[in-house]
Amino acid sequence: MKKVLSLTLALIMIFALCSIGVAHADNPVVKIGVFEPQSGDNGAGGKQEVLGMQYANHLTPTVDIGGTTYDVELIYADNASSNDKAPTAAQTLISSGVSLVLGSYGSGVSIAASDTFDAAGVPAIGVTCTNPQVTAGCDVYFRICFLDPFQGTVLANFAKSELGATKAYCLAKQGDDYSGGLCNYFIEAFGKDNCVYEQFPEGTSDYSTYITNAQNQGCDVFFSPVSTEAAAQIIAKADTQALGMPILAGDTWDSNVILQAAKGTNVKICVTTFYQEGADAEFDAGIKSWINSDATALANNGGNDELAAVTVMGFDAYYVALEALKAAGSTDPADVLEVLPSVTYTGVTGAIAFDDIGDAKRDSAFVKQCNTETGVWDFVSVATVG
């Protein structure tokens, strides 16, 4: 009896495998790796970034490479927002034969995985990882977003001139390359003597003391470019303890997690980001109707169709990857790597071209403020440094 049962199960599995094979038999497949956090501190952001790639894949599911039409398949690997899990996730992608990789949200995991990609010679395109070290020491890492030295300077200028701040409280997560790096560049631009810099350890849930610290030291701006999970808690505490100063953060906070946390509170929040919703009305309408039509996509976007800039960046990244594949004329990672530095593309977030290090040439950022009554972002200004 047991033999019959196991035989039946085995047969079912074989048939299932065959049917998958049949479904994709018409076109050859090119694989693009999606190296993004799906869980952990940055899970929410990672999912939103993936949404953009999925939408792009939904619009353009095929690509012509060297005269042949290929089906594009996205291969996912969860780096769990954790620097020690990142190399394993990267290795998973390499083993499944991807031509190039997109991601990750969060600079730390990208830095941690860069050696793995480098050793395998698989090119990677960072979508929103803004720490300079992602591309600096690595020949295969490129990126399409601006960098933290730029973002930190923009934020520091904004704090000084627009908010009139003279003393800043900076809060980063211990051992986190993104928040720590961005805080350092902010402090550099703002002036070290006028900044109070503190770090909280992993697993912190009580942020009330940091709020009290900022108040007691007489700061007039609270800079905390930390993960959205911590952000939600900080906003809640800032409200109950009447923080009394604006909160400033980087691109990570451009997320509807922040909007939900801030709605109905009495906290002023300003962020710098890559894209302002409304800049391309046609694109906005398209992606919103797609998100609303797909229950999983809607859940991954936090339950509403408010667009995060990282989603739009994910969308552009997918097309940069397709451009690279077209230019390479082959699905071999080595060929893609060779042509990638000269790839250019004009996406929804603007023109993308790479410099010598592999960073995008970008010189402007959007500043947005959270409208705590309606729970949406209000456009403030376009910031440049120069």
Partner: protein, 308 residues
């Protein structure tokens, strides 16, 4: 600014954190007292309680969802004991502990699967999450309520242990497992009652904790659970007053260390930041090592009358 006004917010938030640790620590210490088992899954039961509240309150009004959440959490604690610990009653103690670690990971991964790893916003509970002003500082009402509620619950628990039949049975079992069985105590009932009380307190603790820090992720229970465990060891594992006092000491110390830089700067003791805030967690675990080296039984350990 005077010393009191700058220090008070840290003390108050520390007492509140301590109260929350205390409610979890009791669960550790009671189970240890009776089964000699460190129930590693306890912190995760606390996290599951938070998640249940998130999902229940989405479809039910609060006056139904809070009791239902507590009931389900208690049921979870009871089931874990029956499924994962009871079959191992005669096995070596290490096997039960490994089973507890397994349950802990199971709960974390189930939560990861259900939530998709995303942060869930804890519902606002009216009245207790309101903002109040206390000695010129702004805080939420739950911060003030927590220590008092903790003390009331602990008092009720001590009464239960000292003056009821089940309490007497608990004391007997914690003294001598086999003899109390011979004397006709139904050991399984006593153990179940212990788990029910422990998880009930963890469920109440989760309401207080997540109202104060409103975000639930699968690893939310890990750090508070670990700190509560340290508190239980610090106070002398097996002793309820010990666990409570240990929890308050750790809560306050942690909070003050986080603000120590600021306190010292504002009061003119030092002029530059020295980065002490970074060591708030390290302090807790250094304390654990010190107490284990110099007084392995903890502050109140081995006082058999306090044992459960």
């Amino acid at each position: 600014m005077d010393v009191l006004k700058t220090t008070l917010p840290y003390i108050i938030s520390g007492i509140s954190v301590g109260g929350q640790y205390a409610l979890i620590a009791i669960g550790y210490t009671m189970v240890y007292g009776i089964l000699r088992l460190i129930n590693f899954a306890h912190g995760d039961v606390f996290m599951v309680a938070g998640l249940m509240m998130v999902y229940l309150s989405a479809s039910l009004p609060l006056y139904l969802s809070i009791p239902l959440m507590i009931l389900l959490t208690v049921l979870l604690g009871f089931t874990i004991e029956r499924v994962a610990y009871k079959p191992l009653r005669s096995a070596p103690r290490m096997s039960v502990m490994i089973s507890a670690i397994g349950v802990s990971y199971l709960l974390q991964n189930l939560a990861l699967y259900i939530t998709g790893g995303l942060n869930k916003n804890y519902p606002q509970i009216p009245w207790i999450s309101d903002r109040i002003s206390l000695f010129g500082m702004e805080t939420s009402r739950v911060t003030v309520i927590t220590p008092f509620l903790t003390i009331v619950l602990v008092f009720a628990l001590v009464m239960l242990i000292n003056h009821t039949k089940i309490g007497m049975a608990m004391r007997a079992v914690s003294r001598d497992f086999e003899t109390s069985q011979l004397m006709g105590i139904q050991i399984n009932r006593v153990i179940s009652a212990t788990f029910i009380i422990g998880t009930f307190l963890a469920a109440v603790g989760s309401i207080l904790f997540f109202t104060n820090y409103p975000g639930v992720v699968p690893t939310s229970g890990a750090m508070p659970g670990l700190k509560a465990f340290v508190a239980a060891v610090f106070g002398g594992i097996g002793s309820i007053p010990g666990a409570v006092i240990g929890a308050f000491i750790i809560g306050i110390a942690e909070s003050v260390i986080k603000g120590l830089d600021t306190i010292l700067i504002v009061n003119g003791v030092i002029s530059e930041q020295i980065g002490l805030a970074t060591f708030s967690d390290a302090f807790t675990f250094v304390l654990l090592i010190i107490i284990l080296v110099f007084k392995p039984t903890g502050l109140f350990g081995e006082k058999s009358t306090d044992k459960v």
